[in-house]
């Protein structure tokens, strides 16, 4: 993975997608400029999760855009996804790396500067600084970094950085100016009336 592939990182959210199929949202987002897609599911049965993963993989293949699975290494292995994104309460990095092998992408959420520091001892492919701002998408998040915290995190880490939490067309440029590689969005694309246009506008700001 190149740091450029983190530029506009779409994290899926079915409830926010207003009943529109995730395959459609994802393809529109990619046409608009999304560079990587994370499938994040917290309520699907494993079988449905795998089926959706396979479907998104087919959607993304023609575009060469990587598919990342949130948390579930079994689903990532089952669909041969490009990697996983793990949080601090998910599978420990070392085990995930052992199960996925050296070539898969593993991203890690970091919720404070201590975790940014700790991640420097791991061979992760990128870190997601989370959350930069408060956000309605997730209610169980740590206190926000703010732009100062994001700048600090970017200066401390040896990894590519994506910012998540409150990223949208108003906040994107300011976040990028902190020295990061990309922004991750959920509602700014999944909840947009026209996801392709939303992605295109965001991409133009990065």
């Amino acid at each position: 993975m190149t740091p450029e592939q983190l530029r506009l990182y779409l994290v899926t959210d079915r409830p926010l997608s207003l009943g529109r199929g995730l395959e459609w949202i994802v393809e529109e987002a990619v046409k608009g400029g999304a560079t990587i897609v994370q499938l994040r599911e917290k309520s699907l049965d494993t079988r449905e999760f795998i089926e959706l993963g396979l479907s998104l993989k087919r959607t993304l293949a023609p575009y060469g855009v990587p598919l990342i699975i949130n948390d579930r290494v079994d689903v990532a292995l089952a669909v041969d996804a490009d990697g996983v994104h793990i949080g601090q309460s998910d599978m420990p990095y070392d085990i995930a790396r052992r199960l996925l092998g050296p070539d898969k992408i593993i991203g890690l959420s970091v919720e404070n500067l201590e975790e940014v520091e700790e991640a420097n001892s791991l061979d992760v492919d990128y870190i997601a600084v989370s959350p930069v701002f408060g956000t309605p998408t997730k209610t169980d998040t740590a206190p926000p970094f703010g732009l100062d915290g994001l700048r600090k995190a970017a200066s401390m880490t040896r990894h590519p950085v994506v910012a998540i939490g409150g990223m949208n067309r108003t906040t994107a440029a300011g976040a990028m100016a902190c020295g990061i590689d990309g922004i991750a969005v959920v509602s700014a694309i999944c909840g947009a009336p026209e996801p392709q246009e939303a992605a295109r506008e965001l991409r133009s700001l990065l």
Copy 2:
């Protein structure tokens, strides 16, 4: 795995365990005669699930009793469990076998005679006929097999059979008489005031 190892199959349930540690419940059950243990968790974070799996693996190791993980192949791989138990909405059998390799135990829940028949085309290590009777432990189950259905399932399948759903000291002997290899219990041990005694009494009936 030998069919004898299915004789008294404990499926864990933390909410039913009345605040007592699962390690304690499991060790008491094994001392009383449980022959295999399935860790079933639907609400834990992946990291906690793995930690609990590792802990139960340490608990069971001295007794040579296999540890099976419900649904989550990633957790099974992470803790190097003896196998997984999958339901019809979990990972498809073929994928689970590919990820786990030929030596791990894979058990499959079957909820009607069609699924018993279908399982004959799979290389599963056992089937769990579910539910034999109605049960308060799971509320999302299919219509019960009853003893006649259980007998039919046992005669149709080429696999070892364990019966689950309403299995207790009153129903155990009748189920065994249907030509099965063992019974699986949840509340009859996890919810018992003395899990070791409960397991011992059940075992004596099998």
